[in-house]
Symmetry: D2
């Protein structure tokens, strides 16, 4: 019944430097130094709210550990791991691969602690200590592919956790639901030919990475049908996301029959996020999480582990995460979303036809998912 919670100050100390939003400072070319958009502020405020709300006291605090080389190499190439380590050893840090993904000095160790936070939760679930869990980690992971970091991600934390669940704990089928506003391209690619891991990504169409996450990306070889994408148009909100959950995500999970559900909990599809144009509120996150919890209860003994991904609004992110965590825990705290009345009206527009079209296209692919040969075992 317990919910695990992973947090460590090192996550906040991952140093993304003085970029102006996402661009490295370049003063004489007109790019004034500032702060990278993926900075600790939103996550620090989130952790403090979780503590202050009283929720922390109801959680089982799980201590993270550093992922080992063996664990990293289940997902990443040796060259990539070595690259991150080398960049991290530089006094001023470096970049994970695309020029927008800073690796701070020492971030190799921190990134291993982020991945290891997820591993600790998976083990706690497998050991029966917890049924649900949340890892409030930095750096994020879902854009990292086997051989490169990108989109602020160094290692793919959730992919490493999924492989760990399969390899070490013998869980047969893993579903990864990713509702970060950006395409979970790294996770998808890593498992693209793997029938044992179902990836489902809800995201803003053609946002990041460019030209990635279309519906026709549906898995390959043995994994055909086991990658689902719902590229929602910019401006999509509560109605479109809930409809996607009901029409695509839950049916897909029901058909796949996972032994564990992993959630890439980027909350950057919220209505105040600077890095996307979606319109979700805490109410959306709450209801979506509730649907996942119910599915987990129905399908895999409630096993549901969430990893923190994107979320760049310092002031709204904390409430979005609190809503997710309250639902994972099955409780509510004394803290209510103070922005609820402000956003109630303008985020409530009905589902629009061009949104429904995208959802329908994704729903059409659900039957391609292979159902489990046997009933999942505890």
């Amino acid at each position: 019944m317990a919910t695990g919670y992973v947090f460590h100050p090192e996550y906040l100390w991952h140093d993304t430097g003085t970029s102006a939003g996402v661009l490295p400072a370049d003063p004489t070319a007109g790019v004034q130094p500032a702060v990278h958009i993926e900075n600790p502020e939103a996550k620090r405020r989130t952790h403090e709210l979780i503590h202050l709300s009283g929720l922390l006291a109801e959680l089982l605090v799980v201590e993270p550990r550093r992922a080992t080389m063996t664990e990293l190499l289940r997902v990443h190439t040796p060259a990539h791991v070595q690259h991150i380590r080398a960049q991290s050893d530089l006094r001023g840090g470096g970049d994970a691969g695309d020029g927008f993904s800073p690796v701070g000095h020492g971030s190799y160790d921190i990134a291993r602690l982020a991945a290891g936070g997820l591993l600790a939760l998976v083990t706690a679930v497998a050991d029966g200590d917890i049924t649900t869990g949340y890892a409030l980690t930095r750096p994020p992971g879902h854009h990292a592919t086997a051989d490169t970091g990108m989109g602020f991600c160094l290692f793919n934390n959730l992919a490493i956790a999924a492989r760990h669940a399969r390899t070490v704990h013998g869980l047969a089928r893993i579903a990864i639901v990713d509702w970060d506003a950006h395409h979970g391209n790294g996770t998808q690619t890593i498992f693209y030919a793997d029938p044992t891991v179902l990836t489902i990504s809800l995201h803003q169409a053609n946002c990041f990475p460019p030209d990635s996450g279309w519906t026709h990306e549906n898995g390959t070889a043995q994994g055909a049908g086991h990658a689902l994408n719902v590229p929602l148009p910019p401006g999509s909100g509560h109605a479109a996301y809930l409809q996607t959950m009901h029409q695509v995500v839950i049916p897909a999970l029901d058909r796949f029959g996972p032994d564990l559900i992993l959630l890439a909990n980027g909350v950057d599809a919220n209505v105040f996020d600077p890095m996307a144009r979606q319109m979700l509120t805490t109410a959306t996150y709450r209801q979506m999480t509730r649907l996942l919890v119910d599915a987990a209860d129905r399908l895999c003994h409630g096993r549901l582990i969430a990893a923190h991904e994107g979320g760049y609004s310092p002031f709204y992110t904390p409430y979005c995460v609190l809503a997710v965590l309250e639902e994972l825990t099955g409780t509510t705290t004394r803290i209510t979303d103070p922005y609820a009345t402000i956003v109630a009206a303008y985020t409530s527009e009905p589902l629009q036809p061009h949104q429904q079209d995208v959802i329908d296209a994704a729903a059409d692919l659900v039957p391609r998912i292979t159902a489990p040969a046997t009933t999942p075992t505890p």
Copy 2:
């Protein structure tokens, strides 16, 4: 031929306090102190970029002055002016009316300097010293009505400038174009029955203020037809805004025949803004400004004055304003938008039907605008 530029450090010192985004801090209720979203950062960076780019050296720096009581009272009620003054006199400041619009200690004087910056530009235009101008002012103004501040606005700077142009400088017809992402409700209300001032607002439908800025709001009494609204759906971008300019704004200006065009240059419809969900880029702002400059050249001897309104992305706002200012000046600097390639793809989607519907509805109202009785005079 000169372009005037108004800036003063007092604008940056307008103190909006420790709100968490827009909500006043309330620690024990879970609202951690932070920084108000309408803080100096984006504007400070904008001014520094204008200086560093070399553009400042090509502008005619116009010194702002404080708007007088007489000038404020041309637009606002005595009770409202007194309210702002009283809140400003409080040691810790107060609020302009809606609970989200901080009045810092001393902000009464600063707000008068903001309004007075516009007045100085109007006078410089009337005197023939400049033809175009930009006032990089804080606090903003377009939400302020005759009797209250709201939406971070204390006094309606542009409305005060328009009245000044009419009353003191005898300009017969003023057009106010407002492409801030939020409805220019204050300006609209102030001139709702006034046939001599045409207000046109492009904004995100039903964003802020709630339930304001619909197409059917079209002016009243003598001013019937002289208020235009284009409430574009969330997720609207370059194509929708350019189409609006071509199909609504420019035809409306041509029909109205203004003696002066005022621009409420909120740049919060840009693709990174946290306070709206639109998708404009510097290219959009550049092209929209170019269209306005051409209209001003054609209609009113080039007279075009822009007031800074919203714009909450610290890192992207400066480039949006630079694009506007370059077009006002008819020059380009050595600084190119460093985000151009990043946003090129995902902001380029074609005009969508539900956007076109809104534009059509607004365009249908253009013929209601009364053409000038006589040819505009210099």
Copy 3:
């Protein structure tokens, strides 16, 4: 043997607003808004270092509670408590009394939680759950007198704790050692005529409050001799402070025979602090704490509770507090002061004659302390 640790995110959320250092923002008079010097940064970084160092795992986390009205009134006047409450209820907060001590919205509750953090530690000591403890609280307390806040202090946390120890837990004699760089005037005044509480303040001469903390301030009536002050000249460092400990503080404690030692652990006498001119390093804080721990072991079963007071260097404060906490705990962590080599040379000057003069004058007063009538009881 355990060491208790009190921390709560509300302490960090105490909102001291936009003062420029210590002066309230006053833009038109030339005081640009900034951040109050007593802001959360140094304390937040301290807590994160305690966690990251691994020390947190060795501490007994003690949950703070809000001090009750009865508990506050043991030290403060009803008028003062009511004043803080009323200022705290204001939407924008107010001031605790001297114009430099912001009371944020909701700070009344937070200040009660700060005082209550100390109370929880005192109770845990009295119950035998811990022998030493540290309360990383905000707002600070040592300048607050019975009837007013000042110097960033709202309620006198340590005085409330001392009265609680006396009244509720029956501890007969309390010693309060205050090595904050500023005079512990509030604590001194509250107990000035009280022979059961010995106050000893080491501070920079004539710094804050003005003209306070001279050697001749030595207690009155029944409390005569039970207030000690060591007003060290600006520029005093390791040698002067250690000499003071050996020649004044420890002899005074030995003579007084306390049942509990309370420590006002302001670390603003460190060499990087902006609010004083002293030159202490982590080595000084470590050695001074070791001397207090030894005295507590010798005199009162090891009972020693520290309250966080001043400390305004965001980057050096954490290491100073870590040193204190390591000594309280009797352990060392893997974290060594990274500034040690930088400051080693220039903080090592020998004791100077004008410093020794001050110390001698204070030492001369130690014999005036009344020794306990009976052996202290457990």
Copy 4:
């Protein structure tokens, strides 16, 4: 009669990164990322206060240019210039030499603009356009030696300016007064054997660099006697500094008979500075500047150019610089030091014997200065 003023936003964009005060971030070793102590904040606020006070309107704004390679090489070795350039070309920047002096990406160009700002002032003085001048530059310069940067300094701006004055403008004798709290070691070393440049440094004894700036460092070879040092003890204030001006600096200038006085205006000896332990106030800076202005009037047609050096208090630095600039300009603005009453008492202690000893030792060396062979020419 005019006073020149050099400022450019590039100075503020010099990127010193995420050091924790002065130490590069090293998270897993316990050094949390923060902001380097030499960041733009204090200088930005200074410039804004100069503008807001009205003083900017009375100054002659002098446009800086980038120092040429020839100009840099008059002071620095080719290897050092090349090192700075190479570090600056790195995407994430590098370090100027000692590990505490960040070179941001692009800082090579900015550092040349800082040196060039001083060059522009020297030329304006030589051309008779101004008599006094202030360069509000970053990065600072006085610690940089011929072959390395250190102490946050990349190139020695003032040394380059002095050489320029000698070589290009034919000024025979240059005096450099340095009252930055730290030893002007770079400037001293560069001119240590040069009899045509007198260097005088007032600083905190043995602060930075370690073991540098003792009285016995008095010049060598031809330059014997032409380097003066006054290593004042920590805690020195108004009285000690004024005494030093009267007893050492002014007599030295009178004896030397300079054609131009350069001032290294570090204001980090002020009472709130985190990087030193001295106790100066705006009144001190005002009076010291007045003495220099008078000396310049008497000795060299008023020629006095100040370069901004250290000064790390964001809130007090602006007033210190304003005081200097008012005296250079011979005017006062409406802005009075708002901290004046706060610091009046505790910074007013009389000259102490151990301070006087240091001053006497320096004064004894003044007669070693060689008087000019001929009367200085205009």
